[in-house]
């Protein structure tokens, strides 16, 4: 009994220890790193440090087969959707599907569908140094939509989803990926350089945001209905929220 409570305490302490290690690494690199690449190193540590807990949690949860397959179906729809519109750059439904997943199945699943569908679709489009930033950004979109929906700040209405989808794709996704480009390229990490990178990619970010709004407008209602039906019919993801 004693041992069990000890184990439980250790289990609750682990995330804190992990976060402390990440912070320590960031401070050490930020303070002691000499070269111009220290900002990039810090961003890599933060990316890995923030995504790893989600993946570890998913591994340890021993997801049941039905939930696992449902998640992979959603990822595959996102990937196939991205591939279907490949001729229009940045016109992709991934963000819309990730947001809908976050709303219906919770932040955890939203993160997974975001990160995994980007990772897999980059097998068709080519992996690059940007991949971790894109994975993180889409994962964040899923987490955020899940949390905001659970808090009641995001409604499942069309207008609310489209507004959130457009803004978050433009500002969050675009902002993070542009920051990645800035840090990767070795341009000076200043506000003016960041704004320049954002400005050059603004047309693409705008198309991306518009495509999110479009797909949410068309897909939100039927997709949410279908997923709610799956949840009630098979009792999936009841432990998530």
């Amino acid at each position: 009994m004693q041992q069990k409570s000890e184990q439980k305490r250790l289990k609750t302490a682990l995330p804190a220890i992990f976060a402390a290690l990440v912070f320590l690494a960031v401070i050490l690199i930020g303070a002691n790193g000499t070269g111009e690449r220290k900002y990039f190193a810090v961003s890599l540590v933060l990316l890995v440090g923030s995504m790893l807990p989600f993946f570890i949690h998913f591994e340890r949860r021993r997801t049941q087969a039905r939930e696992l397959v449902t998640l992979s179906v959603l990822c595959a729809i996102a990937v196939a959707g991205r591939a279907a519109f490949y001729m229009i750059p940045q016109f992709k439904p991934v963000a819309a599907i990730v947001i809908i997943t976050g709303v219906c199945l919770g932040p955890q699943s939203g993160f997974l569908v975001g990160a995994v569908s980007l990772f897999v679709s980059n097998f068709f489009f080519g992996q690059g140094p940007n991949t971790p930033y894109q994975m993180f950004a889409f994962g964040l979109l899923g987490v955020l939509s899940g949390i905001l929906y659970n808090r009641g700040l995001l409604k499942s209405s069309r207008a609310s989803l489209c507004l959130f989808g457009g803004l978050s794709t433009l500002l969050l996704y675009g902002g993070i990926v542009n920051l990645g480009t800035l840090l990767l390229s070795g341009l000076p990490p200043t506000l003016s350089a960041y704004l320049m990178v954002c400005l050059t990619s603004l047309p693409f970010d705008l198309i991306h945001a518009a495509s999110s709004v479009f797909f949410l407008f068309v897909l939100a209602k039927p997709m949410i209905q279908k997923m709610e039906r799956m949840k009630t019919k098979y009792g999936l993801f009841s432990s998530e929220k």
């Binding site: 111009e36 397959v69 070795g186 098979y234």
Partner: protein, 292 residues
């Protein structure tokens, strides 16, 4: 010609690319940049010559010029002032740093083009299968579902066409509506079909203890030799990283560690590491030619 390097064990390949890509991202010393850029280009060209040439001249070269030009306009650090643009100094250090980081970025992109050809999805699934079984199962299922959904879309479309509701029938609005309808049918089918798949998995014992997985990758003698050679070459490079051999200061003025005998050794090790795929291919070629 068969690329013998790409046939190595996934773990060896993964270690190799992770090391080389990380080194290329962080070592800004001119010698290291030149080695990585040259070998990255050569390895990529050995895998697909035409694609590499097209990519290099159409994308990398213009990017190199633009980034070299843009950096000194955004960054005014550095001691040697070349000229003034709008009262802002353009420094030699910023120009050189812009050029170096453009070389670094090009090298990373070239190495990633090798990664994309060599590290295929099945190798990644195999590698992470033991560390993260649920994730790699998720990953491999997504890979399988994508072509399957595409095939199913065709089936649905044919059926819809039969009742006059194809994505190419009617006015443009009706077409769009029909297209969305096909996607909706696909989604419902995919979700329901997924449940069937999951039940079938459970019936066959998914998640039970003591199950093993099949893999076609065997760790043979050749992989062992390659791994040992790689590790032996990693040591001097790490030693160089810790003693500052591959470090360079750009601002306020350029400063590198003076070249010594040791730094030549570190350069040589880094070159052997980066050129490993080419050297390995050549070595196997010679060996097999001799044995015939």
């Amino acid at each position: 010609m068969r690329n013998r390097f790409a046939e190595l064990h996934p773990a060896v390949l993964f270690l190799y690319f992770t090391a080389v890509i990380l080194f290329s991202m962080f070592f800004m010393h001119p010698v290291f940049l030149a080695i990585s850029l040259f070998c990255g280009f050569a390895c990529s060209a050995a895998l697909h010559l035409g694609k590499t040439l097209r990519f290099s001249f159409r994308f990398l070269l213009p990017m190199l010029l633009v980034m070299t030009a843009v950096n000194p306009l955004l960054n005014h650090r550095g001691a040697t002032i070349l000229l003034y643009v709008n009262d802002n100094p353009v420094t030699r250090e910023a120009l050189l740093y812009g050029f170096s980081s453009a070389c670094m970025f090009s090298a990373v992109l070239l190495w990633f083009s090798c990664w994309n050809t060599v590290i295929t999805s099945d190798k990644l699934v195999y590698l992470f299968g033991s560390v993260a079984p649920s994730l790699s199962l998720l990953f491999s299922m997504v890979l399988r579902f994508v072509p399957r959904f595409k095939a199913q879309i065709r089936t649905i479309e044919n059926a819809q066409k039969g009742i006059g509701k194809g994505a190419d029938q009617g006015s443009i609005f009706i077409r769009a509506k029909n297209g969305m309808n096909i996607l909706s049918i696909l989604t419902t089918w995919a979700l329901e079909n997924g449940i069937t798949t999951a039940d079938s998995m459970r019936a066959r014992g998914y998640g039970l203890a003591g199950r093993t997985s099949f893999s076609i990758y065997a760790f043979n003698k050749r992989d062992k030799t390659a791994l040992i050679v790689l590790i032996v070459m990693l040591f001097p490079v790490f030693y160089g990283a810790f003693t500052g051999e591959n470090n360079i200061r750009y601002y306020p003025s350029l400063a590198v560690k003076p070249i010594s005998f040791v730094s030549n050794l570190v350069y040589a090790a880094y070159f052997l590491l980066c050129a490993f795929p080419l050297l390995f291919n050549a070595a196997i070629e010679v060996k097999e030619h001799d044995s015939i």
